[in-house]
């Protein structure tokens, strides 16, 4: 961060996206493990869940003003961010250990421990749900940010995290058998490609192919309703700052991106998910992911709106930025 920042930037939004999606993937995999009757999600999807959270952590560290001191975020047990950092660490570790159970290598000595799989699924369910929801809790507690404050953000982030997690699981399930089939003739036992086939070949139960799109469609419908209700409540909200902030989403400078998110990132994939075609559902899943990123970028950007004090905005606009031409003039 070499320039002055008074608000969080796009990297935090991307962190929220990857971390939330990873958390959602862990939750879905855990639910299938616990209640799926012996079914498991694809290994690729199970590996990408904790991997997504690692990517999110990377973006979070890059967003810091002092990245080399990043370990300090684990220090204050009262802070939501600290709680989230610990939960994400547990989720990543637990997620990788669980995913590894499906890797066909003797090195993974816990592969056959079925009870461990169930225990890890419970841990993943809890930590994944927290990781999927905690950005909303973090934002909802900031009293000075009218667009965020309140419990609504928590529900919106949880829904989006589960929808994007489900979408990536679906895409992984789509990709795996195709690649596995293509690679099958080239497989030689003991080769790296053979190991890769272990990652690619396991195909999730057919029930997942039917249940997952329906589940994602339900989440998208809830997302559509909740966002509409959230903006309505904010617009007719308790304070003028909340109403002004919501107005930016409805017909202000954020409205175009918000409409794209609602139409292309929510309604279109909702329809596509309900079509009885795998290709349509896959396209819908891609749109869900794009919608998830857009939503988080918009949400983080709306943090620019604050409870400004009288005359403050005008004053701050007049402050020098340090880039003024006269400052760089050679006066001597």
């Amino acid at each position: 961060m070499s320039t002055k920042h008074q608000n969080w930037g796009w990297m935090l939004a991307v962190d929220f996206f990857f971390a939330g999606m990873g958390g959602g993937m862990l939750v879905i995999a855990a639910v299938v493990e616990l209640f799926g009757g012996g079914t498991r999600m694809s290994l690729l999807g199970n590996l990408l869940g904790p991997a997504s959270m690692c990517i999110g952590c990377g973006f979070l560290i890059l967003e810091l003003g002092k990245p080399l001191r990043a370990w300090r975020v684990f220090m204050n047990p009262k802070a939501i961010l600290t709680f989230g950092a610990w939960m994400m660490s547990f989720a990543i570790a637990s997620g990788f250990v669980y995913a590894a159970m499906a890797v066909p290598l003797n090195l993974i000595f816990w592969r056959e421990w079925a009870m461990l799989g169930k225990c890890l699924a419970v841990v993943n369910l809890v930590t994944g749900l927290v990781v999927a929801t905690y950005p909303g809790i973090l934002l909802g507690r900031l009293k000075g940010r009218p667009m965020w404050v309140g419990p609504g953000m928590m529900a919106l982030f949880m829904l989006s995290s589960l929808a994007t997690g489900g979408a990536l699981h679906y895409l992984c399930a789509q990709l795996m058998p195709v690649l596995g089939t293509l690679l099958a003739p080239m497989l030689i036992p003991g080769s790296a490609l053979f190991f890769l086939s272990g990652v690619l070949v396991p195909v999730p139960d057919a029930v997942i192919w039917r249940v997952l799109p329906g589940g994602i469609a339900t989440l998208l419908l809830l997302q559509l309703l909740l966002w509409s209700g959230y903006l309505w409540v904010k617009q007719s909200g308790a304070t003028a700052a909340e109403a002004a902030s919501a107005q930016r989403w409805i017909n202000g400078n954020l409205s175009l991106a918000f409409r794209c998110f609602m139409i292309l990132g929510t309604i279109a994939p909702l329809v596509l998910m309900l079509l009885p075609m795998q290709a349509a559902a896959a396209l819908g899943a891609v749109l869900v992911l794009l919608g998830g990123v857009t939503m988080r970028l918009l949400t983080v950007r709306s943090g620019e709106d604050r409870t400004f004090l009288p005359g403050e905005q005008k004053y701050r606009l007049r402050l020098p930025t340090g880039n003024e031409e006269f400052l760089h003039k050679n006066w001597l």
Binding site: N7, R69, V73, N76, L142, L309, G311, E312, P320, G322
Partner: protein, 180 residues
């Protein structure tokens, strides 16, 4: 127990920005950082009944500071005397405190990568001096003292005048009071 507080007498403030400049010099702040801006409200009304007023802003050193608990590194600290400050060596520049502060009192310092703010000139207080902005104000619009001492000037001013705390509805319990 001492609780430091400041009273801003907006009837006396003429918007000269002396306090702003004094603070910038004392704290050696970069060009784009101001800890205590003085904003202008107005002119309002119609001629000849026009009014213009000034609002000196500063960190409110809240009794219930939202910026302290959100800090994941314990760099944001509230002292027993009520002063809220940042321990620079612990700050990672995550901006959580900036986002949590409803008063815009915290600034990201792009030169250090950390967050900085007004600390009521705690270094000067330790020497028995007043904060620089208070000592500089030639209109005596800024008054500093112990809120818990009923004989202090700030306590008497708050008791005998109509005062307000900014954004009091957020339950932050600011230590800065405005006479209007």
């Amino acid at each position: 127990m001492t609780r430091y507080a400041m009273v801003m007498d907006t009837r006396r403030c003429i918007g000269c920005q002396s306090c702003t400049v004094a603070c910038k010099i004392h704290n050696e702040l970069p060009i784009d950082i101001v800890y205590n801006p003085v904003t202008t409200i107005g002119p309002t009304g119609t001629f000849p009944d026009l009014t213009l007023s000034f609002l000196p802003l500063i960190c409110m050193h809240c009794g219930n500071p939202p910026c302290v608990d959100v800090c994941p590194t314990t760099a944001s600290v509230q002292r027993e005397d009520g002063i809220v400050h940042v321990v620079d060596s612990k700050c990672v520049g995550c901006l959580s405190c900036i986002m949590a502060c409803p008063y815009g009192a915290r600034q990201h310092n792009h030169e250090t990568g950390t967050v900085s703010k007004c600390d009521f000139c705690k270094d000067r207080l330790e020497q028995g001096k007043l904060p620089h902005c208070v000592a500089t104000c030639h209109q005596k619009a800024r008054i500093f003292g112990d809120l818990h001492d009923p004989e202090s000037e700030v306590s008497k001013l708050i008791k005998n005048n109509r005062t307000v705390q900014l954004l009091g509805e957020l339950n932050t319990d600011p230590s800065v009071f405005y006479i209007y």
